[in-house]
């Protein structure tokens, strides 16, 4: 077993039940690398997950405490939980693109507005893959999926001058980054900064679903084809890459820290108590 897995994960969950060749393991590993680099241990982190491939496959893998929310609601659960945890304890949520940018977007936005201290890792596989491969909010335009047999025609959150990270930035998120799972060190560095950030942080990581999405979009279920496709489109240097490309790195980093939600509420409660006593 990998030393990271041995150190941080529950043996029963290794290997994961993800499809052979799935890119989720790359995302998961990058988060563990970041945690290891920061010198954090199981007691320092409470791990939450959502519904879908990203949530189900990472649920209860963490040796410490784990929870999984219903679809899209884990941000609200985490908001309540934040008030009960010690301020120095970290919360990491591994969720999917549908969970964060679709069904859970309202709660995600309000977690951003409140600046709840949590690090959301959106493991994005271009749609609803655990239900067989329907399009979602990051599915590339024109892509053939089970629910877009004539090509993806629905506007998404990452095209046409529109970026979900921009919406989150406007809502007040303090740290935002985007990466693909084929990246190495720089992605781990972004995750480290996100975890370190006291407040709401989010890292959007695109990873390939070899079984459903790429099976249909590329007509190949060979993992190597999917990884080559993603690699070629991650910060491409060649001019000949047509269509979708991914510009990665830190998207936004706030220069001034906004007060964190639970810190603010604790302070408020203390002030009211003092006022009532005097």
């Amino acid at each position: 077993m990998d030393y990271l897995a041995e150190k941080f994960l529950k043996a029963r969950k290794i290997p994961s039940t993800a499809c052979s060749g799935c890119g989720l393991g790359q995302v998961h590993k990058k988060v563990l690398l970041a945690i290891d680099d920061l010198g954090l241990e199981s007691a320092d982190i409470v791990w939450g997950t959502g519904i879908g491939c990203a949530g189900r496959q990472t649920f209860n893998t963490w040796k410490g405490d784990n929870f999984a929310g219903t679809h899209g609601r884990v941000y609200a659960l985490a908001t309540g939980l934040r008030l009960a945890l010690k301020p120095e304890q970290k919360m990491i949520l591994t969720v999917g693109d549908g969970d964060a940018f679709g069904i859970g977007l309202l709660h995600l936005l309000h977690a951003v507005r409140r600046n709840v201290d949590m690090t959301v890792i959106v493991a994005d596989n271009f749609g609803y893959q655990s239900t067989g491969g329907q399009y979602g909010y990051t599915t590339p335009s024109g892509a053939v999926t089970d629910s877009s047999p004539y090509g993806m025609h629905d506007p998404n959150w990452v095209q046409d001058g529109r970026d979900i990270l921009d919406i989150l930035k406007s809502a007040g998120a303090g740290f935002l980054a985007r990466h693909t799972s084929v990246e190495g060190h720089n992605a781990v560095e972004s995750i480290k900064q996100a975890i370190r950030y006291k407040g709401f942080s989010l890292v959007h990581i695109i990873y390939p679903c070899v079984t459903n999405f790429f099976g249909k979009a590329l007509g190949s279920r060979k993992p190597v084809d999917a990884y080559r496709w993603l690699k070629a489109r991650t910060n491409p240097k060649q001019q000949d890459i047509q269509g979708i490309t991914f510009t990665t790195g830190i998207y936004y980093q706030s220069t001034s820290e906004r007060q964190e939600f639970s810190e603010q509420l604790r302070g408020f409660t203390e002030r009211v108590q003092k006022r009532c006593q005097s």
């Binding site: 529950k10 029963r12 969950k13 199981s42 007691a43 409470v46 997950t49 519904i51 189900r56 649920f59 209860n60 040796k63 410490g64 405490d65 784990n66 929870f67 999984a68 929310g69 219903t70 609601r73 609200a76 659960l77 985490a78 908001t79 309540g80 939980l81 934040r82 008030l83 009960a84 945890l85 010690k86 304890q89 309202l106 709660h107 309000h110 509420l265 408020f268 409660t269 009211v272 108590q273 009532c276």
Partner: protein, 390 residues
């Protein structure tokens, strides 16, 4: 003893504070808004947190999240919000997290009339979420004082059964003003029969044991117990599983921890049932106040009439319906909800009738006349609107 003149909403607030509630997340809705307002004022005074949520889905999820970290939590709403609780309510039932939910019922369907009482969530409170394989616990106060006592009780049961408990009130109870006594000394607390359970922590490794026992501590996160709780069917250690055998154990625990401990939950009041009355009224919540007066008025007129008032409505106390009689269910709805359970619970040979009012209480004389009609073996008069051409 602190003696106040206040609303049911105020009583529920003070009960939550009394029971050690430290987190309230809510969304404003008539006729429960005052609970949120009062909690926003009271909680910071006792070191607690008030969070105004973006919707009811978030409200109950935030409460459950706090409870998951060890804070006692409560939320309140009315019908339109209660239906939105379906998602988090199910999560708390399945993950077995204590939380208290107040529903001040107003007349529906949907938004209905905000300031009129209703009893439309009788069955919704039994099945507040999807999927089945669970029992629910629901308490129904009929006065300001009882709203206080049952809310304290709800917090107590939530801890012992590690599940969400609904306090099913109605607009008359929550908006109505009455005398409210709040005990202050240990003797006063005992005299009122109030119990408070402290939050225990489950240190594992079995977070979901296959047992019908209560008093199993819930999962509390943040203590590095290696705990796991989720919406998935859990193994004893909390791992998500697709094995049906674990589903059987999960369902067994959720159903039988309640069924096999019903005696702790069941509460009801009986009016004049000693002489095997001809007609027995059945009601819960504010209509039961009219029923009590009607039983007295009918007795004064020599009619053999009694009454049953349900205080806990789920699990349904079948045992109280052991007499053969003509039952009359009095409810604040026109479709008849409680009456269906009464029909199921009564002995063979009993008659079951229904008298519903929509958005307002029935009158005492109406009930006395209905009892007289049933005793004479005549059919109940139809409500006027049933026959009118619309």
């Amino acid at each position: 003893m602190k003696r106040l003149f206040d609303t049911g909403n105020a009583a529920i607030t003070e009960a939550a504070i009394f029971a050690g509630c430290k987190l309230f997340a809510g969304y404003p809705i008539t006729p429960a808004t005052e609970i949120a307002e009062n909690m926003s004022r009271r909680l910071p005074q006792v070191g607690g947190f008030y969070v105004q949520a973006e919707d009811e889905l978030a409200a109950l999820h935030i409460c459950i999240g706090g409870s998951l970290g060890g804070l006692k939590a409560m939320t309140s709403t009315s019908g339109p919000g209660y239906i939105l609780f379906a998602d988090p309510y199910g999560w708390a039932l399945g993950s077995e997290i204590p939380v208290v939910v107040v529903n001040a019922q107003r007349v529906g369907p949907v938004s209905g009339i905000t300031g009129a009482p209703g009893q439309g969530e009788f069955y919704l409170s039994r099945y507040p979420t999807h999927g089945g394989n669970f029992e629910s616990i629901v308490l129904a106060p009929n006065s300001v004082q009882e709203a206080f006592q049952l809310t304290v009780e709800a917090f107590y049961l939530a801890e012992r059964f590690r599940m969400p408990i609904t306090v099913l009130a109605d607009q008359i109870v929550t908006d109505g003003w009455e005398t409210l006594l709040i005990p202050e000394t240990e003797a006063e607390i005992q005299a009122m029969g109030l119990k408070v359970a402290l939050r225990q922590i489950n240190y594992g490794p079995e977070f979901y044991p296959a047992t019908d026992e209560i008093d199993v501590p819930p999962v509390v996160l943040g203590h590095n117990t290696g705990a796991a709780c989720s919406d998935w069917t859990p193994t004893a250690e909390g791992f998500d599983t697709e094995e049906v055998e674990w589903q059987h154990k999960h369902a067994y625990r959720l159903i039988y921890k309640v069924r096999n401990n019903r005696s702790i939950i069941s509460q009801y009041e009986e009016f004049a049932l000693e002489d095997e009355p001809d007609v027995i009224f059945v009601a819960y919540g504010s209509p039961s106040r009219v029923v009590k007066s009607a039983v007295q008025a009918a007795r004064e007129q020599g009619l053999k009439v009694g009454g049953i008032r349900l205080v806990s409505i789920w699990p349904f106390p079948d045992e109280v319906f052991h007499r053969s009689a003509k039952y009359l269910s009095v409810e604040l709805n026109y479709d008849g909800q409680l009456v269906r359970e009464v029909q199921r619970a009564v002995p063979k040979g009993s008659e079951v009738h229904f008298l519903g009012r929509c958005g307002e209480l029935p009158k005492v004389l109406e009930l006395v006349e209905a009892a007289r009609t049933l005793i004479n073996g005549q059919p109940l008069k139809a409500i006027k609107w049933e026959r009118e051409a619309w």
